[in-house]
């Protein structure tokens, strides 16, 4: 009997191994957290004894900042759950949140500071890192920075960052740059993230920000390319709201517009798959219907003086007969653009039936409160800002701005000041450097006058030496050699730059590093984090270390302080006074004493205990034609027009602008870069997308729910569940409509080659095809997930687990001239069997 044989063998095996386990219990086995096996229970490991401790933290796997309870026993984290007391998490988590323990115990983590000994840099060059002490690391960097300063070249030092969390990391850059004397502290990643929606809002309602939303009370959502149930933020909270919206009375009706099938589309009441880059045309057609059918919110927008609707297709109106209330420029918008933007016109552009757009317009305008939301989908194109403005304008037409069930902006936390002010420690050199040189990315210059940051331009500018060459660069939570558009150029550019990388993990940028300064992972950090735009009222969470650092790592904020202390002149005194991150956070928390949070948090200790300070409610509300301010009990203080302009809609007119004063200020630039007549630059309008790549198929590269802030390619658990649509087997696939595949002789499971023109050269990546009849036949989908060559053992695995290439390599570095957002979703590629 084989079965019996197996049974006996296994029992013997157990007895043998339990003895071995007991023998190693004092050594590494004990470190690993396993209880020693007792003689009486020789057949199985006993439950681990000891007390479980819960510390507060916030997740690091997307920008959402969900509060988490970290469960630790015997110095080992064993579970992560949502923090019930955190208003974003409410005890819940998204699929990524639970995997945080993997990020802490990632076997590929850097174990301490290192320096490079191989001067050659490249994809196939081993950096030959050797361990050094933190003192050595700081001294090497400081010596370099001091030398730059001596030579009057401190502008050639740049900080780059991805996910900044708060005042104790990215919040320190401004003072560092000011004291040291560089305009490049820091180059943020927003222009390769979602800057388009911020600029669309700045151009219409004056707020350079993402929105806060009142999903709890809204009755209609018209969602353009914000993957609400995948990657929009705060994802966890959005799902909580989804559950609420689907059972509340009345049930919130949800229409989704996207370029591909996805869970948001599938779960919505209605979806339409739009041609990439054309969302603005659809939004304009919806606005056209709302106006011609008299469905706009007359208390917010205003009305014709006699109440008779003169918005008739193709006919202009007399601006004098429309009495506009809280908006600006509706007559010009109608006369110069909207009167001809019929659903029939938009059907030609978007491929969505005119009758459906008409129905959506009627629903949206009559099922209030209604929210039109959008994110990177419509805005990651050449015409992104105009697309976003057209969508956001629907919120004005529906009267949703600052209304219950509508959308508003985010208030900041009541922080105390730092113990020292950088202004008091600037030497003459630092003062002389202020404004002397442009940023390396040229953001905010004549080249990109409306862009806040242009990280993706850095490689090009450095290679050309225009405006200058970088000397030294320090990276924090960003990996442009993999994540920037056209990352190959970064591989060239960073070869002769002295690189300091601070990631706890290996990555492509780290492989170019001269110094590795690994920071703590988030479960090891003390770190503050004011919320991203959420529900409007202020909130700031705190990360409290759950365990002592597993390796010889440091807090990024403390790294800046330690480098700062070593810079010649008064800068070193400033950082000596600042002390360390904990001291900074204690001063921040002092501000809570005069403004205790709703959960009783009023100092540093209570902040650590509860993990979050917050104070409801949001202070402003639009209601029936007027704006009202909170008086402590209710919204009773009527706001004047100047107050609304000052506090809520800081545009030129103080109103929501269909004719943008922000864009009109840059009309010459817009005319030159986009071919739009100067006198029309401010009008919300249809602009043709400019597709790159030279191929015949649209190429979109979404983020999936399990994309763990760039690390999921090395998280085996994440890869196991990397569905939908067609992953879930340790990889993701190139999703292609069967007709498109068959025309090219491609069968399901074939390895395919995707090619595009980038910088005039034909670039290619490979992937495995999966036939997906749900998608548009003219659009290919490849999740932006893999193609890493240096992230760790799983990310670089070969054999049957070879991963598809990096979609970024097919992405031309073309940006929206207004927002500066890289056009990630605008490539057109060719597809063939490999």
């Amino acid at each position: 009997m084989n079965i019996l044989q197996t049974l006996i063998t296994r029992r013997r095996f157990l007895q043998a191994t339990s003895a071995a386990g007991a023998a190693t219990a004092m050594g590494y086995g004990a470190l690993r957290g396993l209880a020693p096996v007792r003689e009486s229970a020789a057949q199985e490991p006993a439950s681990m004894e000891g007390e479980t401790r819960i510390t507060k933290n916030i997740c690091h796997q997307c920008p959402a900042r969900c509060g988490i309870d970290v469960y630790t026993r015997n110095g080992r984290v064993h579970a992560i759950y949502g923090d019930t007391g955190n208003p974003i998490a409410n005890g819940k988590l998204c699929p990524k949140g639970h995997l945080g323990t993997y990020l802490l115990y990632d076997p590929d983590r850097f174990e301490g500071p290192m320096k490079r000994t191989n001067p050659n840099k490249g994809r196939n060059e081993d950096p030959e890192f050797v361990p050094i002490t933190w003192e050595e690391a700081f001294d090497i960097v400081a010596e370099r920075l001091n030398r730059l300063r001596e030579n009057g070249e401190s502008h050639r030092f740049a900080h780059f960052y991805g996910r900044g969390w708060g005042s104790s990391d990215a919040g320190m850059y401004g003072d560092f740059g000011k004291l040291y004397g560089t305009p490049n502290s820091a180059i943020g990643h927003a222009s390769i993230c979602a800057e388009g929606s911020k600029r669309a809002k700045e151009a219409t309602d004056g707020n350079n920000s993402y929105n806060a939303y009142d999903y709890r009370n809204c009755n209609y959502i018209l969602n353009f390319g914000a993957s609400f149930l995948e990657a929009f933020r705060p994802y966890n909270y959005l799902m909580q709201m989804w559950g609420h919206m689907r059972v509340k009375s009345p049930q919130t009706r949800i229409t989704s517009i996207d370029v591909r099938m996805n869970p948001t589309m599938a779960a919505s009441d209605r979806y339409h798959m739009i041609k990439p880059g054309t969302d603005g045309a659809m939004a304009l057609a919806i606005a056209h219907v709302i106006l011609t059918e008299g469905l706009w919110d007359k208390e917010f927008v205003g009305d014709f003086e006699d109440g008779e609707n003169r918005f008739r297709t193709g006919e202009t109106i007399d601006a004098d007969v429309f009495e506009e209330r809280w908006t600006h420029g509706i007559a010009d918008w109608w006369n110069e653009e909207l009167k001809d933007r019929t659903p029939e016109w938009a059907e030609e552009i978007t491929t969505i039936p005119a009758s459906d757009m008409q129905r959506i317009a009627r629903e949206f305008a009559t099922t209030k409160p209604a929210i039109a939301l959008m994110e990177r989908g419509p805005t990651a194109h050449f015409n992104g800002t105009y697309n976003g403005m057209a969508i956001h304008a629907l919120n004005a037409l529906a009267g949703s701005m600052f209304a219950e069930g509508g959308l508003f902006y985010q208030m900041g936390p009541s922080y105390g000041p730092l113990p020292v002010s950088a202004d008091d420690y600037m030497d003459d050199y630092a003062k002389d450097m202020e404004g002397k040189h442009p940023r390396i990315d040229m953001a905010g210059t004549d080249k990109w006058p409306m862009a806040g940051t242009m990280m993706q331009e850095t490689a090009k500018h450095h290679l050309a030496g225009d405006p200058y060459k970088l000397d030294t660069a320090m990276f924090f939570v960003t990996n442009p050699i993999w994540s920037a558009p056209d990352p190959i150029l970064w591989e060239e550019a960073l070869k002769d730059v002295f690189i300091i990388d601070t990631s706890p993990y290996p990555g492509e940028t780290a492989m170019y590093a001269d110094i590795i300064m690994p920071e703590h992972t988030y479960l090891e950090r003390l770190q503050d984090s004011p919320t991203y735009p959420f529900e409007g009222w202020p909130m700031s969470a705190l990360r409290v270390p759950a365990v002592d650092p597993v390796y010889d790592t440091k807090h990024f904020g403390d790294m800046l302080i330690e480098i700062g202390k070593r810079i010649d002149g008064p800068m070193s005194e400033y950082y000596a006074e600042l002390g360390d991150v904990e001291n900074m956070l204690r001063h921040r928390a002092a501000g809570f004493a005069d403004d205790p949070g709703d959960n009783g948090v009023n100092d540093f200790e209570s902040w650590k205990e509860k993990g979050v300070w917050y104070k409801k409610p949001y202070h402003w509300r639009y209601w029936r034609g007027q704006f009202w301010e909170w008086d402590g009990d209710d919204y009773t203080i009527e706001m004047s027009e100047p107050e609304v302009k000052d506090k809520l809609m800081p545009t030129g007119s103080g109103k929501f602008e269909f004719k943008s004063s922000f864009l009109e200020e840059h009309a010459g630039y817009i005319a030159e870069e986009m071919g739009i007549p100067e006198d029309k630059a401010g009008i919300i309008q249809w602009v043709e997308p400019r597709h790159t790549g030279g191929g015949d198929l649209h190429f979109v590269t979404p983020k999936l729910p399990l994309k763990a802030e760039g690390r999921s390619a090395n998280l085996p658990q994440a890869q196991a569940y990397m569905q939908p649509i067609v992953g879930g087997q340790g990889t993701v696939f190139l999703e292609v409509h069967p007709r498109t595949a068959h025309e090219r002789g491609i069968s399901d499971g074939d390895t395919v080659r995707l090619s595009a023109q980038v910088r005039g050269e034909q670039k290619s990546i490979t992937a495995v095809a999966r036939l997906m009849p749900s998608h548009r036949p003219d659009t290919l989908v490849l999740p932006h997930e893999y193609g890493h060559w240096a992230q760790g053992r799983w990310a670089t695995a070969n054999g049957r687990h070879a991963k598809p290439g990096n979609s970024g390599e097919l992405t031309e570095n073309l940006s929206d001239p207004i927002s500066g957002l890289a056009s990630y979703y605008t490539s057109k590629v060719t597809l063939e069997r490999a």
Binding site: G82, G91, P95, H244, R246, P263
Partner: protein
């Protein structure tokens, strides 16, 4: 003793798989050993295609076919433990009869080729008889009920997080994660479910919320014709598994 039941509302489920990862980390399962999987189905063609999903835990059947076929009585239904179906890893011989008998595909034998390579068991080799020993482990271990990390050569499955549920106060009708007093006793998948598509309570208590939901929304059990009578009920549209079709190539 309660009869524990789970209710999953497919009208609220967003297919996010937080149930899957919460379960995986709570129970230290291997990548792909998804005691709580979410299955995705795509039907139709652009522009009218549909996509749907089905979260699938062990059904903890009232009359479990896995128990009937187990030659060593390793797998058993424990009426004193809320009617949960367990595998006793001290008795399991890994013959996989139960996996074939189970109509729901919710039993796992993880000894074979790993889903994700390189094999994580090479990174964290097993100690003390465990198949693998990651540095992060749930402190709770109970091999007689298939809780903890399994030894080699056994079948594993969802335990309704018995190590949590078993500590709940006696007589409680529902384990609602929104009640701070109860959240630690709620199964991981239910506790983390952001859209609150999952509910857990006593099917023997007519006053329980789970029974109310089953009544109000006409709860259905999967493959009811098999007679297994699951203790997991589905609500809402889409509680059906499309017939298997080979993928078009």
């Amino acid at each position: 003793m309660a009869k524990w039941g789970m209710v999953i509302d497919l009208d609220k489920c967003t297919g996010c798989q937080a149930c899957t990862t919460a379960c995986a980390m709570e129970n230290d399962t291997l990548p792909g050993e998804s005691w709580q999987d979410v299955l995705f189905y795509n039907e139709g063609e652009y522009p009218s295609a549909q996509m749907k999903w089905l979260p699938r835990p062990c059904m903890q059947c009232e009359d479990p076919s896995c128990v009937h076929v187990c030659p060593t009585r390793a797998t058993y239904k424990d009426e004193d433990a809320g009617g949960i179906v367990f595998v006793d890893w001290n008795k399991c011989i890994g013959c996989k009869y139960c996996m074939i008998a189970c109509p729901y595909g919710v039993r796992f034998f993880a000894d074979e080729q790993p889903l994700v390579e390189p094999d994580i068991r090479d990174t964290y080799p097993g100690e003390n008889g465990q198949m693998w020993s990651p540095p992060y482990q749930n402190p709770e271990q109970d091999w007689r009920r298939g809780i903890g990390i399994q030894p080699k050569g056994v079948v594993s499955k969802c335990t309704f997080c018995y190590h949590k549920v078993s500590k709940a106060p006696e007589g409680v009708a529902d384990l609602d994660e929104d009640d701070p007093e109860l959240k630690e006793y709620v199964p991981a998948c239910v506790r983390t479910c952001a859209p609150k598509a999952r509910f857990f309570g006593d099917l023997d208590n007519p006053e329980s919320n789970v029974n109310r939901l089953i009544a109000d929304k006409k709860g259905a059990r999967l493959l009811d014709h098999t007679g297994n009578r699951p203790q997991v009920y589905y609500l809402g549209a889409g509680a059906s598994i499309p017939a298997f079709r080979p993928r078009e190539s």
